[in-house]
């Protein structure tokens, strides 16, 4: 019987397999940031252990960093960032600190350097590590104990998750993006739908996505509960990688591509579960609640909790509406927002900024609008293309690279009761600041919303 993409990549990385034990899996790349690593380095020091392969490890500063120029003013954030610097220096790990041309959100810099390649195993103490699966890698988030384990051994003990295919047939209509697709998938299968699975996104609509779009889809696999998300590598992947600083060159490139081409699910392979979705029926999506599965097409209205037959979903909807300050039956297009955020590891790449700029060109924003490039290189590229001038002319704020308003760890936050349209990945209670209310949207919907001050699709303008 044939094998799935996930099985092929997993099998290649099994260091040791023994009856009644999890597989010991080799890790090709370990990404590190300041939040989930300090206690892991402490653990190494306490046990007198070293980092086994510092040259397979890379660090950056992203969660705590302010996105305006200048030093970190919060002393606790500053200590955390300085701790990473000390640890990186002590253990010999390459770090891209604030101010460095290579600094940025950890899941943006891996791909941009060409460190993320097909067929690899990639981990990071961050659940959005699933982003890297867009290249046909097995990439997943881990906790601090596992960060310490990978630092010390370059391996992880793990049971192979089950496999799920999400078959996306048809073509995404104009104005419907990768973000809308993944929000629709999560709404369909729920926040627990992917639990215990590695998801492979397949089908015509997925093949037609750019690498940026594929990263957006894989990024939010965790929001469907999946351990990881993957897309088989193809010419789009190879074209993206070619010439990047850490991509193979010359003969090694040819060898690599030959291998990468074998990284596809065999025709006779069987998935543990298959979910089908028709891309051609999709429209822009937006979340109305406090988990990413509580999403609907923008043309719909805030749902009534009574429409949920499952009592758990019903009480979750009741609670969500209360927290979000929404009334059932209100058309989603009538919801007014205070803030628009374009950025994050979900939608902070150059293509996202281009699509937001296209909508904001020649228009003026009505709300506070933060445009935050995912990395310093994305920022540089955007400025070379003049996108920053478009944003500034529209009245938006053009910021430095970082996680920014995706999570309430740095100065970019919502105040209690404030409402955002956000291109990030989580609409949890308080995620963007205590009491803040988040509607997840695509960069295009975010930009159109900034223009009208209400949740808006570009086609409405």
């Amino acid at each position: 019987m044939g094998r799935t993409l996930a099985e092929k990549v997993w099998e290649r990385h099994v260091v040791r397999r023994a009856e009644g034990e999890p597989d010991l899996l080799y890790i090709d790349l370990h990404l590190i940031h300041e939040v989930t690593s300090p206690q892991a380095f402490d653990g190494l020091r306490l046990a007198g252990r070293k980092v086994r392969r510092p040259e397979l490890t890379i660090a950056t500063e992203d969660h705590n960093v302010p996105t305006v120029l200048g030093p970190i003013s919060d002393p606790v954030s500053k200590t955390q960032v300085e701790t990473l610097r000390k640890n990186a220096a002590e253990f010999g790990i390459r770090l891209h600190p604030m101010g460095d041309a290579g600094q940025g959100v950890v899941h943006i810099i891996g791909p941009q350097f060409g460190l993320t390649q097909p067929g690899m195993t990639i981990v990071c103490g961050d659940s959005h590590t699933s982003t890297h699966g867009a290249f046909g890698a097995i990439a997943f988030g881990i906790g601090t104990s596992e960060v310490e384990h990978v630092l010390a051994t370059q391996t992880l003990p793990a049971y192979r998750p089950k496999t799920m295919a999400i078959e996306v047939s048809g073509e995404l209509p104009t104005g419907v993006t990768a973000k809308d697709l993944i929000l629709a998938i999560i709404a369909k299968i729920g926040t627990g739908g992917g639990q215990g699975y590695i998801v492979e996104y397949r089908g015509e609509a997925v093949r037609k996505l750019s690498m940026e779009g594929r990263m957006t889809v894989c990024n939010m696999s965790i929001e469907a509960g999946a351990r990881a998300g993957m897309i088989a590598p193809d010419e789009t992947t190879f074209a993206y990688l070619k010439g990047r600083p850490h991509a193979p060159e010359g003969e090694a490139w040819d060898q690599a591509v030959e291998y990468w081409k074998s990284l596809r699910t065999d025709d006779d392979a069987v998935f543990d579960k298959v979910v089908e979705i028709d891309a051609s029926t999709l429209t822009p999506y937006v979340t109305w609640g406090t988990n990413p599965g509580q999403g609907l097409p923008l043309g719909d209205s805030v749902p009534s909790p009574e429409t949920f037959s499952d009592p758990v979903a019903r009480s979750a909807a009741e609670r969500a509406l209360e927290y979000m300050g929404l009334t059932a039956g209100t058309p989603l297009r009538e919801i007014e927002v205070d803030t628009v955020f374009v950025g994050s590891c979900t939608n902070g790449r150059i293509e996202d900024l281009r699509s937001a700029a296209e909508i904001l060109r020649g228009r003026t924003v009505k709300t506070r609008t933060l445009i935050v490039p995912g990395s310093m290189l994305v920022k540089l590229q955007a400025e070379q293309e003049g996108l920053h001038e478009v944003f500034k002319a529209a009245g938006a704020e053009w910021r430095e690279a970082g996680c920014s308003m995706c999570l309430g760890m740095n100065p970019d936050t919502l105040k209690p009761g404030e409402r955002s349209a956000s291109t990030s990945n989580r609409n949890f209670e308080g995620r963007q600041g205590k009491g803040g209310r988040t509607h997840l949207v695509s960069p295009q919907v975010a930009a159109a919303t900034a223009v009208t001050g209400r949740l808006t699709a570009p086609a409405d303008l």
Partner: protein, 195 residues
């Protein structure tokens, strides 16, 4: 980590679903570089509500959290596990857990127990009727027991053994360093390094 064989204590019913780790411990608490003091951040936003279950003196000292489905979804922050443990919880019972949270728990010796949804509800109701109800979580026997009920739960043999022995995963893996080195010799030559 401390070994876990059997734990008997009182429980706290948490009647909510989809409890992401941002609720268990909000991001502002993650800036600490130490491993201690996270109990103050546990459910810190929800604890501001005087009617929140952890503020109910009837459940004081509870060491078994009985939650609605999808507990520990979202962010990978192990701080969520530390916060629960440092607050005094030894066990979380739910119908479904986020994968990363579940993994993190077993690395730290906080036992995540999956019971069927109706059994979780029955336990929540029993605890609400009698907050001092004694609940036993028997890892050796793979069973949760209360007031004449005995409900089995599944956990793989390896994780159970590791928890019962209180073993350090890294120490276990380091025993196989030769196999790791042998694997490394066969890695594909084009794989990248970060230098």
């Amino acid at each position: 980590m401390d070994a876990f064989t059997t734990h008997t204590g009182t429980a706290v019913p948490l009647r909510r679903s989809n409890i992401d780790t941002d609720q268990i411990i909000p991001a502002v608490w993650l800036k600490q570089v130490s491993r201690t003091g996270f109990e103050k951040g546990l459910f810190s936003a929800w604890r501001e509500d005087p009617t929140f279950v952890l503020n109910d003196p009837a459940y004081e000292g509870g060491s078994i959290l009985v939650s609605g489905p999808d507990f520990g979804t979202g962010s990978s922050r192990e701080h969520a596990v530390w916060a629960l443990q440092q607050y005094g919880f030894r066990v979380v019972i739910a119908a479904r857990f986020g994968d990363i949270f579940r993994n993190n728990s077993t690395k730290m010796g906080l036992l995540p127990v999956v019971l069927p949804g109706d059994k979780v509800e029955a336990l929540q109701a029993a605890v609400e009727a009698d907050p001092k109800l004694e609940v036993t979580v028997d890892l050796a026997g793979r069973q949760v027991r209360w007031a004449g009920e005995a409900v089995p739960f599944e956990i793989d043999d390896y994780t159970r053994w590791r928890l019962m022995e209180g073993l350090d995963d890294i120490g276990l893996t380091l025993r196989h360093s030769d196999e790791v080195a042998a694997y490394e010799n066969g890695r594909q030559p084009w794989l990248p390094t970060t230098v």
